[in-house]
């Protein structure tokens, strides 16, 4: 291992290496040469990179090295007691009760007792705990794991690959349209602060279609450090609607990577709602590998206090005639800081690309901050690309109009804020989920849901 690249290691950086060294032989798939090799290479990549800091351009606004002071031990599966009341408290009533095939990961472990996969295998879906599958990975997993838009420059992704211990692996066979969504629930535990590295892998074969919801909530752990990665491979003519709700505990560090490669004539609709965590970094890497495909990547962030939420997105048009749309809405109160970095790359072959991006922030206080960094790298000449960013306060004239109709000022403000974020929720096709997000935003605002 060449360690000369990095001269100095922070305490946390070293602790992550120690964490790996200590856990290595007991990690899922340790006996499998493919998995062991994958992990070894990944920790090498991490060792070379260290934790990203503000002098790394993509991490300019989120100095992870400064923010991660120490690394708690890997989460231990203590069999935390979880029932419907805990799920409701963690995710909100509507999302907890969302009708779906449900896979519940608690303390880094897929809990069969809490999951409901009745009918999922019968429908033809290959599904299971990633930890189990790593012991003897099937061919489709071997062809996917660590290979969707591979990156050598992402320490978060590398750490996840090195240390992944739980999550869900899912293969949707050719031509299958799954009517009922799949809901993967990710909860922490109730014990001492811990680190968790969960990994989901989703492969949609040709013509397959499904909705996958990932939710992240808390059972009460103070000081979780979560690293959660989902890799998706979309085959020709497949459709994946991929939705995330993040309402983790307020002390949590939430590091998330979604990486998707899209084949021809396929659709990838992604939506992320972020409410929780002290520091959240949502990275999305979307790459077009087949012509005639489209993606819509959107999100809504509502944070306050000293919360920090960074969404960093890279959409790479590698082939002609694909469409990408991004709409991100941020509501920032108190001293919260919201960040949106969106990069659209159009490679020389990707003629007839149509890419549009918009990020809008609503600042509810003088001390909230929004940083936006759109980047377009265009190497083809026949493309339509655009980006925009706005930030502003609540429009006093609109507020007066609503108040003059009898709505007390707090209710009028809440209505305007909900209208602002509601535009992003429109991307979510499932009506029940849209209502779930509207309810979550109402709860954030402290008003009753419509």
């Amino acid at each position: 291992m060449d360690l000369s690249v990095q001269q100095f290691r922070s305490k946390a950086e070293q602790e992550l290496l120690d964490l790996y060294a200590k856990a290595e032989s007991a990690l899922p798939g340790a006996a499998n040469p493919f998995v062991a090799e994958l992990r070894k290479n990944a920790i090498k990549t991490y060792a070379g990179l260290g934790l990203p800091h503000r002098r790394v351009e993509a991490w300019k606004y989120t100095d992870l090295r400064a923010r991660m002071e120490e690394i708690p031990p890997l989460i231990a599966a203590l069999g935390a007691s979880v029932g419907e009341p805990e799920l409701e408290a963690a995710l909100g009533k509507r999302v907890a009760a969302f009708p779906a095939y449900r896979l519940v990961v608690v303390e880094g472990e897929l809990r069969v007792d809490l999951s409901d996969m009745t009918g999922l295998r019968e429908a033809g879906v290959e599904v299971g705990s990633l930890a189990l599958m790593l012991e003897m990975p099937p061919a489709w997993l071997k062809e996917t794991l660590g290979q969707v838009n591979p990156r050598e420059d992402d320490a978060v992704l590398a750490l996840n690959t090195a240390l992944m211990t739980g999550g869900v692996a899912l293969r949707l066979p050719e031509g299958l349209t799954l009517q009922k969504p799949i809901h993967t629930v990710h909860l922490d535990g109730t014990g001492d602060p811990a680190s968790t590295f969960t990994r989901n892998v989703i492969v949609a074969e040709e013509g397959a279609s499904a909705t996958v919801l990932e939710s992240y909530g808390t059972l009460g752990m103070q000081g979780l450090q979560r690293n959660a990665v989902t890799e998706l491979k979309l085959g020709d003519k497949s459709t994946i609607r991929h939705i995330k709700l993040q309402c983790e505990a307020i002390e949590t560090i939430h590091l998330n990577v979604w990486t998707a490669s899209i084949a021809a004539d396929a659709r990838y609709n992604a939506f992320q709602a972020s409410f929780g965590a002290a520091l959240a970094r949502n990275q999305l890497y979307v790459g077009f590998d087949g012509e005639g495909s489209a993606t819509d990547v959107s999100g809504a962030t509502m944070i306050r206090g000293k919360q920090h939420c960074d969404t960093t997105l890279v959409v790479e048009h590698r082939v002609p005639a694909c469409v990408s749309r991004e709409l991100f809405k941020l509501v920032l109160d108190d001293e919260a800081r919201g960040i949106f970095q969106g990069k659209v790359i159009v490679l020389p072959d990707a003629q007839k690309t149509d890419g549009k991006q918009m990020a809008q922030a609503l600042l509810l206080s003088e001390t909230a901050e929004f940083d936006s960094k759109p980047e377009l790298e265009i190497f083809a000449d026949d493309v339509v690309c655009g980006h925009g960013a706005t930030s502003g306060q609540i429009d006093e004239d609109l507020l007066f109009y609503l108040e003059s109709r009898g709505l007390p000022a707090p209710q009028a403000r809440a209505l305007l804020i909900q209208a602002f974020v509601g535009e992003a929720f429109e991307v979510v096709e499932d009506e029940g989920l849209r209502e779930g997000f509207a309810a979550a935003s109402a709860e954030w605002l402290g008003v009753a849901a419509e």
């Binding site: 006093e396 004239d397 609109l398 007066f400 109009y401 609503l402 108040e403 003059s404 109709r405 009898g406 709505l407 007390p408 000022a409 209710q411 009028a412 209505l415 305007l416 909900q418 209208a419 602002f420 509601g422 535009e423 419509e450």
Partner: protein
């Protein structure tokens, strides 16, 4: 009864209302006319409580209550309604949701029972029909993409739902063709009652052919310069606002 005494109001450093006195007894409709810049719209906003305007002197008493002590939503609950000259467009708020929120907020604050969704729908359908409002229009975001006439009818619909004691109509006729004007005026006339006072602010006499006022006041330079019966509006139509500091011909 609305009683305005010696009202002075300014926006930023510019004084607009300069000692305005006006009394509107219960059940009466008064028209406020006057040249552009005489302070008509300022009066409307000050009545509704827009905080861009600072009241520096005088008083507004509504049914014995000091209106100036109330915030805009409290005034709405107390029965003051302003039909805006330029109703606001709010994308992301469905008109129907807004109407129900406003109606129930006011009902709740007045100690009345809030309406259930079916009851509210019945009520809104009935009121919308009188104003020739297509119910589909109410499923669209508030005022977004509405024509001028649709916006004004939507204002009158809100007035019908909120059942105010004082309706202030700020240039409700502006931007309306004759058919739309008639629908809006019919809607307003249907709301006239012994308990309800109205203040109809307009630059032109045309609207007053349809909403016949009990009294007409002419504003000039932040005060009421002249008051009279409906015939005053007709006289102004001929002579214009020249003697009140406006252009020689009214349109």
């Amino acid at each position: 009864m609305l009683e305005i005494k010696n009202l002075h109001a300014k926006i930023e450093d510019r004084e607009i209302l300069k000692g305005l006195d006006l009394t509107v007894p219960a059940g009466e409709v008064h028209a406020i006319m006057g040249p552009n810049g005489s302070g008509k719209s300022t009066l409307a906003y000050v009545l509704a409580g827009k905080d861009d305007y600072e009241v520096t002197d005088g008083s507004i008493t509504w049914k014995g209550q000091d209106l100036l002590e109330m915030d805009p939503s409290e005034r709405a609950v107390a029965g003051v309604f302003l039909a805006f000259q330029y109703p606001m467009e709010i994308p992301g708020v469905a008109t129907m949701t807004f109407l129900r929120s406003a109606t129930n907020a006011v009902r709740k604050a007045r100690g009345q029972e809030e309406l259930s969704t079916p009851d509210f729908l019945r009520l809104v359908k009935e009121k919308a029909k009188d104003l020739k409002i297509d119910i589909e229009m109410l499923r669209r975001p508030l005022n977004v993409g509405f024509s001028g006439g649709e916006k004004k009818r939507n204002e009158i619909l809100q007035m019908a739902l909120l059942e105010p004691g004082l309706g202030v109509l700020d240039e409700t006729d502006s931007g309306l063709d004759i058919d739309a004007l008639r629908v809006v005026a019919d809607g307003v006339n249907a709301l006239r009652s012994k308990e309800r006072s109205m203040l109809v602010i307009t630059h032109y006499q045309r609207l007053l052919n349809y909403i016949v006022p009990d009294k007409v006041h002419v504003m000039s330079d932040g005060r009421i310069a002249r008051s009279g019966g409906p015939e005053l509006a007709i006289e102004l139509e001929k002579s214009g606002y020249a003697e009140f500091g406006g252009e020689a011909t009214a349109a």
